[in-house]
Amino acid sequence: MNGKRQLILITIFLTLAMMSLSGSDQVPAAKQDHPIVLMGGVIHTVSGDIISGGEILFINGKITEVGATVSRPANVEVIDISGKTVYPGFILAESTLGLTEIGAVRATNDYREVGSINPNVRAKIAYNPDSEHIPVVRTNGIALAQVVPTGGLLSGTSAVMMLDGWTWEDTEMPGGGGVWMSWPNMVVRERRSGQRRPAEDDPKKAIREALENLDKTFDEAEAYHKAIKSGTGNQKTDLRLAGLIPVIEKKLPLYIRASHVSQIKAAVNWVNRRGYRMVLVGARDSWMVTDLLKANNIPVIISTTHSLPSRRWQPYDEAYTLPATLADAGITFALAPGWHPQVRNLPFEAGTAVGYGLDRDRAIRALTLDAATILGVGDKVGSLEPGKDATLIVVDGDPLEIRSAVVSLYIQGRHVDLNNHHRMMNEKYKQRYRQLGITD
């Protein structure tokens, strides 16, 4: 065990020593300007085999060859990663990354617009590429994140962002994301005897009205779509309704947040009636309706595996076992840890799921190819195969284990700086104790 620890330490130290030369902040990596071969590692292609001691070649940001051996084009840089593993860069399926810096400081929050119907607001344009959170998150092997607005009934339109770049336009991965919706609460909560509900509350009425409002909004959007398509030019612009056109035209999915089984059932039924594409998000009770999800081919973003059971009498490992249950039912899913200070723990949530019955390969898929497919970018990222982006990580062990470390991250072949504010503060204050003579 000690040998391994030392290796990590040396690696981290060397990485940091190198990075500290580049200044006080992380500089986005330059475009890949020469072919790179990683050799000697265990390559987890995800879409294909695991290749031990294999090689991977990428040129101009794209993977061109993966195999036991690959060609050596002119000007190639060959990096020996013997003893290490290679995986596609991990994908965070849902986050407010770049939209918030410090939750308690209102001025730093840009994820929730006022009002209930905001399909037209776009997360990507508020994405701050200089957020300190981004370098912190990618240090744990996360290369891409879906950036999502929250709140209201229709929260806005998400985007898939690469976690390195100068501007939001640089970092957006086209084709990803969708419109986010929170399915109305459908549960009348019983209170402990003795507690009475205020008389003015009529929860059933509130539920009915919310569902009516939902239908009304989409009826209007469908009518708007028809009017626009008719080409008469009579329809004046309505940005809110226009924001739903990609959903109506099935160009983007509706990401529907629903946790309670009655919400999930209602949402699936509603989507079937209207013919939209749907991704289920949250999905706490989804283990009760796996048949329904499978039959309708609905993918799921589970948020979050690290959480308490939703009901007192349910098993302690309800959330831990949910990924395994969905996997066994043949449902495609991705993971999202929820609370933004926790998102860097994405790979470890997958590890817990493996501990509670999920096949490890499925866990890796959930972090890579399955997430990419759900997010609409499966043709570009999520697996290591020719033609795909060279977005990958090199790890000194099993990335689902906390004690492993990511030693390299490439996004579209660009070698990304793995330094971050935390590592810099670590280095800074280690100096203090060296100066004081407390540590070496």
Binding site: N2, I8, G103, E190, G194, P341, V354, K430
Partner: protein
């Protein structure tokens, strides 16, 4: 009103008023009516005869004693005689009660009343910047919820409607209680008849107590259960001190300053001295035990206004020796008709539904004495139906009757005057038409102090039933009409029956003693316009006149051909073929209570084998032995006896030993969470900046399911901390996760007492919104000053006591210092008896608190959170404090902008004893992998990392003498892991505390199966019960 009463009923006439309390002292031979009252007579004297003989009734003279046909003679409010063959006095009015049953008048043991509408009780006062609303009088207690001198009778006006509702259930006396406050004041006993000077029997019956606190956004102290209990304790101490202070002052006026006069403390001190009962309102079984703790500490006579959950903790509640007053508030059947509905219902709710109606029976079977109350019901009318259910399920009727009569009478000090039908007792009676515990039986009248109060309508006034009416005029060729009158006696409805399906509703129907009137649309009878009827009723006959639509007058007579029956509806149902099934009698629940009740509850503590031997495991000793591959751990009598290789069970323990094959497994000490809010019914007393008097141990909640869930993650000990709402928070409680045991058994007695401090944004209220800008402090500068100020005060307080205690002369002649729980706790910090866990983030505030501690000469035990600890690790280490941090939380508020996951490793390397904590019910289930983050971020070794969640938090909590490592002599707290405990793939398989297995994966699976089948059984029972069908039927009806 009064005039009308006189003519209503002979027996109703007001009796002369008498002072019952005087009579209650002893039976006076010959009854002497106290005609003259204090109030001067206005006009003529009223001397109404008050002698009655009730004959022929079945008389329950007291629980278990029945005279099948006897006579009761009442004279001037008291029972003159009762018996089988009592001579009826010549001056008595005889009332024939043949076929009726008579009980002693019932006593309603709890009636919470408001003096006036809008009298919200105490919401004034406050301290330390809490702000003051209505100012109290100068001689009142500073806290608006401390009202012990208040009498419930002050300004009390009982409404006739409410009195009648209790009479209808058979109650003749009520124990009225004030409704607001923590110390709510004195209760009183009253007769339930006309509300006037004659109604009160006695005041100052109990001091009434409740765990009441202000609710957001009202932030007056107490704002939490924590604060309410602390306020109770401090006030009780103050009352004792007050009495002593005045005593000494009285004798030594020339050498002492006069203590403040305070009517509330004076009154409370008198209650304590007089051994008056303290009646606590307790909303669940744990609240009962909390009241018990206070009563025990202050040697109070404990009474409980209960809740219906008592059956859950029979033994512990019985051990309190308290008098219990329990409601019959059985829950409605949970809604389980659909999967979605069922999901909202917990196993505990289902089981409570099944067991709640047996609460009284289980108390009775356990020989706990209790009274029953009709309070806490949504509708008081449910009382009899629910009581009947309890009896049907097996509650002994004699005990039920005692709970309404003799038991409360004797507890309330009315044992010689009320509760029985006996010579010399007050003539309080219940007259029914049968067995009171049969819900079909009707209460017809009660007698209150010799005065009859009709409950069922007087037949003379009850017009309901079927009548045959003869008219002197032709109405569409008819001279005979059939009337059906139904509805409420006071508000009848009626119709004329023309044929099978044809009826005409009577309009403007009104029926009382003096007149019966209605109008009838004549057109459907072949006439025209409306015919108006008026007349009078005498029992089953009625007659009167009418006006036809043309103005012609006619006369009518009527005879009642059938009495009114409320069950008409059922008959109609039968006619429609909608036959109502005969409901089988209810049986008592066959469930055995679990604790905590509901899912994963236990029937008792796990067994402790004489010896446990874990063989051939990877043993992380967390002590000098390091990690032993293929190691054994031997535990005897709940303690670790040996750790090593090839150990064997001592011969004498072999008969009762458990051997665990550890092959492929890892064993670690039980994990310890140095910052937890699990198992706490209340977290923050945030109304004030300094609340060192509040104690988490007062609010420990053994019912928290997260205890079990955390056991499933290998946790065995947690430091239950007050929240971070104020610079000096409350006292902590270190618990072991002994799931299934009561709060007092969760608390670890060997752990030193501690306290929570907090610095930074939370205590400055920075993130509370714009309304919170006035409480001191609002800056870190102010935090520093308020902490210094508190310690200075504590130092002076301690010096004062020390000087006082040294001199026996001073003790005799000097008013003693007042015990101040807030300063006392702080003084304990200064003397090293209480350790500080300080919530902190930034380096500046960490340093400032270290300097305060230096200045006051004590050591901070741990800085908790301490996310910038890495910036001042040298100073923390030098001071000797520990650091208990989050592994990797950051970015959620401004003061964590520099929080880094390397914090733990840097602090540890700089010599700080460091731990990772959860501060989260969820995260506490994965502290093992939290530890692994010290390897990832900072490169500590695996052992150093696991120490962050085992031995290091043990050192921080100063429990490392008996916990935190697998070393000889320590508690057998350990976890069997499926693999390397720092791996994300690993599960806890077994968690043991003191050699008892509190979690086991296999047992967990069995419990899941039991929960599944148990839920299914109860749900089927609910669906099968007519209660469910009735309630859904009623619901449907409502929607129509």
């Amino acid at each position: 009103m009064r005039l009308r009463n006189r003519f209503r009923n002979f027996a109703d006439q007001a009796l002369p008023i008498f002072q019952l309390a005087v009579i209650a002292i002893g039976v006076i031979p010959g009854i002497q009516a106290l005609n003259g009252q204090v109030r001067p007579t206005e006009g003529l004297h009223v001397n109404t005869p008050g002698v009655f003989a009730l004959t022929g009734a079945s008389i329950h003279t007291e629980p278990g004693k029945v005279i099948s046909s006897g006579t009761i003679v009442i004279r001037d409010g008291l029972i003159e005689s009762v018996g089988r063959s009592v001579r009826v006095p010549k001056d008595a009015v005889t009332i024939d009660l043949k076929g009726k049953t008579v009980y002693a008048g019932f006593i309603e043991s709890v009636w919470e009343t408001k003096a006036k509408e809008g009298d919200g009780g105490g919401h004034r006062g406050g301290r330390n910047g809490g702000g003051t609303a209505d100012k109290k009088s100068v001689d009142e207690h500073w806290n608006a919820r401390v009202l012990p001198a208040k009498s419930v009778l002050d300004g009390l006006e009982l409404k006739e409607k409410d009195i009648k509702a209790l009479n209808a259930l058979g109650f003749t006396v009520a124990h009225v209680m004030p409704h607001a406050g923590v110390f709510r004041g004195n209760s009183a006993l009253v007769h339930l008849a006309h509300w006037g000077p004659e109604a009160p029997i006695r005041s100052r019956v109990t001091q009434t107590m409740a765990f009441e606190s202000s609710r957001w956004p009202d932030r007056h102290y107490p704002s939490s259960l924590l604060g309410a209990i602390a306020l109770m304790r401090q006030t009780l101490l103050d009352a004792r001190w007050y009495e002593k202070a005045w005593n000494i002052y009285g004798k030594n006026q020339r050498t002492n300053e006069q203590p403040e006069y305070n009517r509330d403390l004076e009154s409370l001190a008198a209650d304590i001295s007089a051994k008056r009962p303290f009646l606590f309102s307790a909303s669940d079984e744990l609240a009962v035990l909390r009241a018990g703790n206070i009563a025990k500490e202050f040697k109070l006579r404990l009474w409980i206004n209960g809740n219906g959950y008592e059956y859950r903790q029979l033994a512990a509640i019985k051990a309190l020796g308290a008098f219990l007053i329990i409601p019959v508030n059985f829950p409605e059947a949970p809604k389980v008709a659909t999967l979605e509905e069922e999901l909202q219902v917990s196993y505990g709710q289902l089981r409570h539904w099944d067991q709640a109606p047996d609460n009284a029976q289980r108390l009775a079977d356990a020989s706990v004495r209790f009274a029953l109350t009709s309070s806490q019901l949504k509708d008081r009318k449910e009382f009899r139906a629910n009581l009947a259910r309890a009896v049907e399920r097996g509650l002994d009727k004699t005990k039920a009757l005692a709970a309404l009569t003799t038991t409360p009478a004797s507890r309330f000090g009315l044992g010689q005057s009320h509760g029985k039908i006996a010579k010399g007792f007050v003539a309080n009676l219940v007259v029914t038409d049968g067995d009171y515990f049969d819900k079909k039986t009707k209460v017809q009248a009660v007698w209150v102090a010799g005065k009859k109060v009709a409950v069922a309508p007087d037949p003379m006034e009850d017009f309901r039933g079927e009548w045959s009416v003869s008219l002197s005029a032709d109405m569409g060729g008819k001279r005979e009409l059939i009337l059906k009158i139904k509805g409420e006696a006071a508000k009848p409805e009626g119709e004329v029956v023309l044929g099978e399906d044809k009826t005409i509703a009577l309009e403007n129907l009104s029926a009382n003693r003096d007149a019966i009137t209605w109008t009838l649309p004549a057109d459907s009878l072949g006439g025209s316009g409306k015919w108006r009827f008026s007349g009078t009723q005498l029992f089953d006959a009625a007659s009167g006149t009418g006006l036809a639509s043309d103005g012609n007058r006619f006369s009518w007579t009527a005879i009642r051909t059938a009495p009114f029956s409320e069950d008409k509806k059922d008959e109609q149902g039968d006619k429609n073929g909608d036959k109502k099934k005969e409901k089988p009698p209810e049986k008592a629940s066959n469930l055995r209570p679990l604790y905590p009740e509901g899912a994963y509850g236990r029937t008792g503590p796990p067994k402790q084998p004489a010896a446990i031997l874990v063989k051939n495991a990877t043993v992380w000793t967390m002590g000098k032995q390091g990690v032993i591959m293929g190691g054994d751990v031997l535990m005897v009598g709940g303690k670790i006896s040996a750790v090593g290789k090839n150990l064997s069970i001592p011969r004498k323990s072999r008969g009762n030993a458990v051997v665990i094959d550890g092959t492929g497994k890892h064993v670690t000490p039980g994990l310890i969470d140095a910052h937890s809010h699990t198992a706490m019914a209340s977290v923050n007393e945030g109304a004030e900046a300094v609340t060192s008097e509040v104690r988490i141990k007062d609010v420990t909640n053994s019912d928290d399911i997260n205890i079990y869930r955390q056991l499933a993650g290998g946790l065995t000990m947690a430091n239950g901390l007050h929240g971070s709402a104020n610079p000096i928070g409350g006292q902590n409680a270190v618990i072991k996760l002994r799931w299934g045991l009561l709060p007092d058994k969760l608390i670890e007695p060997r752990a030193p007492q501690g306290i929570k401090f907090a610095l930074g944004e939370n205590v400055k209220q920075s993130n509370w919104g714009d309304d919170f800008v006035t409480r001191y402090p609002q800056t870190r500068m102010g935090v520093d000053q308020i902490v210094r100020d508190a310690f200075q005060a504590a130092k002076e307080y301690d010096a004062n006591w020390t000087a006082y205690n040294k001199s026996s002369k001073r003790k005799k002649s000097e008013v003693p210092p007042r015990r101040d729980l807030e300063l006392e706790a702080l003084a304990e910090i200064l003397s090293g008896q209480r350790i500080v866990h300080a919530h902190s983030y930034r380096q500046d505030e960490i340093l400032s608190l270290i300097r305060i501690a230096d200045d006051f000469n004590f050591t901070i035990a741990t800085f908790t959170h301490v996310l910038e600890g890495y910036k001042v690790a040298a100073e923390i280490a030098k001071h000797g404090a520990g650091g208990s941090t989050f592994s990797d939380w950051w970015g959620y508020k401004f003061e964590v902008i520099d929080a880094i996951p390397f914090n733990g490793a840097i602090m540890a390397r700089a010599g700080v004893v460091t731990s990772f904590n959860s501060d989260s019910g969820d995260l506490a289930r994965r502290l093992n992998t939290e530890g692994a983050k010290a390897v990832r971020y900072g490169g500590l070794t695996d052992i150093e990392a696991l120490a962050f969640v085992t031995i290091n938090p043990a050192i921080q909590l100063k429990v490392d003498k008996f916990a935190g490592s697998l070393e000889k002599g320590k508690d057998a707290d350990f976890v069997i892991w499926s693999g390397d405990p720092l791996s994300t793939y690993t599960r806890a398989e077994q968690t043991w505390i003191e050699g008892r297995k509190y979690f086991d994966l296999d047992e967990d699976q069995k419990m899941r199966a039991e929960i599944k089948s148990g839920r299914a059984r109860l749900i089927q029972k609910i669906l099968a019960s007519s209660e469910a069908s009735e309630s859904s039927g009623a619901k449907q009806g409502k929607h129509k």
